[in-house]
Symmetry: C2
Subunit: 271 residues, 2 copies
């Protein structure tokens, strides 16, 4: 099949993004394609056939044609997010320059007071964004958030990478706050709407997002409700990120929640 910027697959996107920075070996590509060896090889073959990439000295790199192609797909040069020290699951906390994020949200509506909440959350938001980027779930994506107490939507918008960010939030103050910030800082793709998770999702929002992000109430019912609402807004092969700690939910509860996830046809890929 002829590839164009519209019908590029997720695996092709991840490969091209990776080698856009520097040539990579087959093994390096395989580790970052998040796909099977068979599918990765078939994507590489396809890209070779279309003269988008070339293979030399055991490395794949972009052709001139490929450089032009990738410039139409990427909004930013590829950012390395892996921790340079442990090279493991760790994410480099300095991947994205989001220094202005904490400034911008200084005047946020007061949250329910908790130990050190503000500080902790900003770091968590930054890590979460680096991780989502690493998995290929920010750039050019339509993202929906159910609840956004952490104001992750603003940080996402500041990266300038998503196509569209829609926040569904029950707290009217937060909705107005996010929309204000979007206007003031020209975050044109960011929009917040009032929505209570107990209500049905508007038909217009159904099947229209690539990525769901939510930090639900940590009960079996709460999480199941948030995810089933979110699920209905996702396109096929959509991706969901959600917060679940062992602080409030025991592994017994995890078990129940995960079991429900499998019933909704989700597969857990990262914890």
């Amino acid at each position: 099949m002829k590839i164009n910027t519209q019908n590029i697959t997720r695996t092709e996107y991840l490969i091209l993004r990776l080698i856009s920075k520097s040539p990579r070996t087959y093994w390096e590509i395989l580790l970052e394609s998040f796909d099977t060896a068979a599918n990765t090889i078939s994507a590489l073959k396809n890209l070779l056939n279309q003269n988008i990439i070339s293979y030399q000295d055991k490395e794949f790199k972009l052709t001139e044609n490929g450089k032009n192609f990738i410039s139409q797909i990427l909004k930013t040069e590829y950012v390395e997010t892996k921790c340079p020290y442990c090279n493991g699951k760790g994410i480099n906390p300095k991947s994205f320059n989001l220094e202005n994020f904490s400034d911008i949200i200084k005047d946020r509506p007061k949250a329910i007071p908790e130990f050190d909440q503000g500080v902790v959350n900003i770091e968590t938001v930054k890590n979460r964004i680096s991780f989502m980027y690493y998995k290929g779930d920010i750039e050019n994506k339509d993202i929906v958030l159910i609840g956004d107490d952490d104001l992750t939507s603003i940080a996402l918008a500041l990266t300038k990478l998503p196509n569209k960010i829609t926040v569904l939030e029950a707290d009217k103050r937060l909705v107005e706050y996010i929309n204000d910030k979007a206007r003031i800082f020209n975050l044109n793709n960011l929009q917040a709407l009032i929505y209570n998770v107990e209500c049905k999702v508007d038909n217009k929002l159904k099947n229209s997002f690539d990525v769901l992000l939510t930090d639900p109430v940590e009960t079996v019912q709460g999480i199941t409700l948030f995810l089933s609402r979110g699920c209905s807004m996702l396109k096929e092969n959509g991706v969901a990120y959600f917060g679940l700690t062992h602080l409030e939910a025991s592994y017994k509860k995890w078990f129940q929640i995960h079991k429900n996830l499998y019933q909704m046809n989700f597969v857990i890929t990262d914890i």
Copy 2:
């Protein structure tokens, strides 16, 4: 309930191990207890009541009594495994000094040749051990391995931390090799037995291990077989670690495998 070194719970063990190095706040303890806030608080209360720990200046620390108590439980001083740079999911690859591991296994029976296999595996083995230690699943544990192509059992034995390590391996050469090394290096708790995963597990091995480690064939049937065999050897609340990549198994396959895991009453806690 009065705690002694025999009836200490997993959560109490993790708390004591953590503060054995230096005093910690409630929030630091909560993040590393891998248990709910309610259970963590109840464990802390219990330890305070027994005069094993004390609370001062917002930090918990061991009492003199507690220092004596913990010295009977820990085989080694607490080792920090978190990556010092990213402080995230990354594991410090230098947590354990296993430098002699690569020397010891230099004369290992030839594995099926693959790209750079030897080198990659040693790092993986080290990371895996640091991670298992972090989760509290090595020290004083009875560990069973189904298949041990990577010779992880020898590295585990070199830490001197487990109570017992039993390897069930189909390759006779590996079984003899592991037992030879155990004899030569005085790894008294390490033992390898010939076992083919297609056969039933010996009754003597049933319900007798805390931890299962396996790197199964990456098919739905393969993994289900390895894990159900392994499962029967675990005590209640036993823990299983297994290898599953996206290289050979698509997320569709993961979905099937995970679904089967939930049917065996496993909960996925880390990926």
